[in-house]
């Protein structure tokens, strides 16, 4: 069974060596952005690595669950790190392609809404949100400072975030720990609902929305998500627990308590299974966790630029 020190050590060591908590490569993080302009520009897309990490999150969930059940697993994790990849966090290629398409779509949706945004590429630092969630105050502060310096150097007026965790970090946590970044807007606040339509190839008109806790409770963007999906032409179905009373995907516990996280994910998928259509979320952590158990899509996979 993994102790907290082993998990924390694994993440901190990855961050120190590679600049990413799950050791994603620069290629993995930025290959989606071919053709996207580089800064400076008024609007800067800041991914915080989170969407790109979905394949590694998905792989690590399985790996952590397996080694959490084995004796001497703290040692396994440390050896895994030393053996550079022996801990089999191998991202799924298909999922990587999906994520790249989501990120490109995010850029296209902004453009269709009249916003030309740039992206920094491999030099974009990780937001540090996982460090905060694990209770690691000093490493989080250090990482937040790095990001703040990066954002200031970009000279962007508006930082466009794509996921609720990164938005929360920049908007709520950075001011508390290191200082305020430039204006932070979540993409849902910028996309013009009338400029989106159903994405070609999505074989359903019915969607059931799984609300990310942060998106709904802290950012209050659950209504906006529905507005965009409905405007695109979908029928939206609500599970019994939705909006600010949503039910967690289990993701926040997936590194420290992977088996508990898996059971929470299973319960949420069971709740969603009672409804028709495709389960949709607007959070990479939800996508990584719930998507491990069944068909779940991100909102960036079901809409595209275009008028109905």
């Amino acid at each position: 069974m993994l102790d907290k020190r082993s998990v924390v050590g694994f993440i901190l060591d990855n961050l120190r060596r590679t600049g990413d908590p799950l050791a994603a490569t620069g290629e993995e993080l930025s290959s989606w952005a071919a053709g996207v302009p580089r800064p400076p520009s008024e609007y800067l897309i800041y991914t915080g690595h989170l969407y790109q990490l979905v394949p590694r999150m998905r792989a690590s969930i399985g790996a952590l669950r397996a080694i959490d059940s084995s004796p001497g697993s703290g040692l396994v994790l440390r050896l895994g790190r030393l053996a550079a990849g022996a801990l089999s966090i191998v991202p799924d290629g298909g999922l990587s392609s999906r994520v790249s398409a989501m990120l490109r779509n995010a850029h296209d949706l902004l453009r269709a809404s009249g916003i030309e945004a740039s992206y920094a590429g491999p030099s974009e630092p990780y937001s540090g949100i996982l460090l905060h969630d694990l209770g690691l105050v000093d490493p989080f502060r250090e990482q937040a400072r790095r990001v703040l310096d990066f954002l200031e150097a970009s000279r962007a007026r508006v930082v466009v975030t794509l996921d609720p965790h990164t938005t929360y970090a920049l908007r709520e946590l950075y001011p508390k720990y290191v200082g305020s970044p430039p204006e932070v807007r979540h993409i849902l606040e910028l996309v013009d609902p009338s400029a989106v339509t159903r994405r070609a190839g999505v074989g359903a008109e019915d969607l059931k929305v799984h609300d990310s806790c942060l998106l709904a409770k802290v950012l209050g963007l659950h209504g906006r998500l529905r507005e965009v999906l409905s405007s695109a032409g979908y029928r939206v179905h609500e599970p019994a627990r939705s909006g600010t009373r949503t039910f967690c995907c289990g993701g926040p516990l997936s590194s420290l308590f992977p088996r508990v996280a898996a059971e929470i994910s299973r319960r949420r998928m069971e709740q969603l299974s009672a409804l028709p259509g495709i389960a949709v979320s607007a959070c990479p952590v939800c996508l990584a966790n719930l998507g491990a158990l069944g068909e779940v899509m991100d909102w960036l996979e079901v809409v595209e630029a275009g008028r109905r």
């Binding site: 102790d3 209770g135 806790c213 409770k217 009373r245 967690c248 289990g250 993701g251």
Partner: protein, 395 residues
């Protein structure tokens, strides 16, 4: 045991996850409670009650020290003996001094007595002690920890209850729930009728009136507080509110938020039983308890005033947040310091046992903060549990 509180918590959670029968019990109970809670949706009366209670609690916490002093005066004026216990040890000693040894003691459900470990303490003094709330009784005979503030045994499925009664009470009746409840009723009635001391809790204490208010559905608390000759009320100082009307509001709100309905019983006790029916001469007791003792427990509560944890003292222990919590309803009583479980349990553990004891538990909070949406008092449970995870309150 590893000695690592994180690993102990994880091991306990995984053990729980492997217990299919217990999880089935929890899921049945959760679904039933969720249905009850839906009765409250859009109930303007209960929403208004919650608003009033938030205001009552805010006012009470602002002047808690003087309210506690006033409650003491008023209760003593009404004939009760009052102890304000600063620490857990002070509280145990106070109750131990009243009860003594070699007694038959019955008690109704009380989270504060769980916090103190009162049952074990009194047994250690040589008393026979029985819990009279059905759920609490089942926990007592099974050695289980509570999984919820009110529905303490919601993780025990009927199959396990049957096994328990067969083993511990030599029950030979059928396994349907009414038959099992009937058997426990007979067992406990016998103890209540013979008891020397009845220990009860409180939902609220009215400072001006010197009265203790308690809600219940089973009727056991009413019997426990009145049949034995000595009644000892044990409760936290956070339960003190200005007036009896305020106390009623608190008690009613707690009941609505637990089950979506008003309570079957509301007990108000303002002193020992007595009568002046003959020549207006006061004689104690009449039909109720001859003595009433009230132990008001601080145990870290007043130290929380003026800190970020102060808002937690407004908690009415309805457990609404606990039933909404995806983690607690998955791992049950594993996520607990004994009396206090779930995210709100992290906060109460910090108050009553210190932030050091709470921090390992805080690791299990997903910080989804859905609990806050269900709290009638607006306590920022998830936010504060996250702050404890990040070292708040550590010295």
């Amino acid at each position: 045991m590893s000695g690592d509180p994180f690993l102990e918590l994880k091991r306990e959670a995984y053990r729980w996850l492997s217990d299919e029968r217990a999880r089935a019990g929890m899921e049945r109970a959760s679904a039933s409670f969720e249905a009850s809670r839906r009765l409250l949706e859009g109930n303007a009366y209960v929403e208004e009650l919650a608003r009033e209670v938030r205001e009552v609690k805010r006012r009470a916490l602002r002047e808690l020290e003087s309210l506690v002093a006033r409650a003491r005066e008023s209760l003593e004026r009404n004939g009760a003996h009052v102890v304000v216990a600063r620490t857990r040890d002070d509280a145990l000693r106070a109750v131990g001094d009243i009860v003594g040894s070699g007694k038959l003691v019955v008690k109704s459900k009380s989270i504060v007595t769980e916090e103190l470990g009162l049952r074990e303490y009194l047994r250690g003094l040589g008393n026979e002690v029985w819990e009279t709330d059905l759920g609490e009784f089942l926990l007592q005979i099974s050695g289980n920890r509570p999984s919820h503030f009110v529905a303490v045994s919601m993780h025990l499925p009927r199959e396990e209850v049957l096994d328990l009664l067969r083993e511990k009470l030599n029950y030979r009746g059928p396994g349907d729930v009414p038959s099992m409840v009937g058997a426990v009723r007979e067992f406990l009635r016998d103890r209540i009728m013979r008891a020397d001391v009845g220990i009860t809790g409180a939902n609220a204490v009215a400072a001006e009136d010197g009265a203790v208010v308690q809600v219940e559905n089973e009727g056991n608390a009413r019997l426990t507080g009145t049949v034995p000759p000595v009644n000892v009320v044990v409760t936290g100082i956070d339960k003190v509110v200005p007036t009896l009307v305020d106390a009623f509001r608190v008690a009613l709100l707690e009941s609505y938020y637990v089950g979506g309905t008003p309570p079957t019983y509301v007990n108000v006790t303002s002193g020992p039983s007595g009568t002046r029916d003959v020549e207006h001469v006061l004689v104690r007791p009449a039909q109720g308890a001859k003595e009433m003792h009230v132990v008001l427990v601080d145990n870290g509560r007043s130290a929380a005033l003026g800190t970020p944890l102060e808002e937690v003292l407004a908690c009415i222990r309805c457990g609404s947040c606990q039933l909404a919590c995806p983690v607690l309803t998955t791992v049950g009583p594993a996520w607990s310091s004994g009396a206090y479980m779930g995210g709100i349990g992290v906060l109460w553990t910090a108050i009553t046992m210190g932030a050091g004891a709470a921090r390992p538990l805080a690791d299990m909070c997903a910080e989804c903060r859905v609990c806050e949406e269900y709290c009638p008092m607006g306590i920022r449970v998830g936010l504060l549990a996250g702050e404890i995870k990040r070292g708040a309150g550590q010295t």
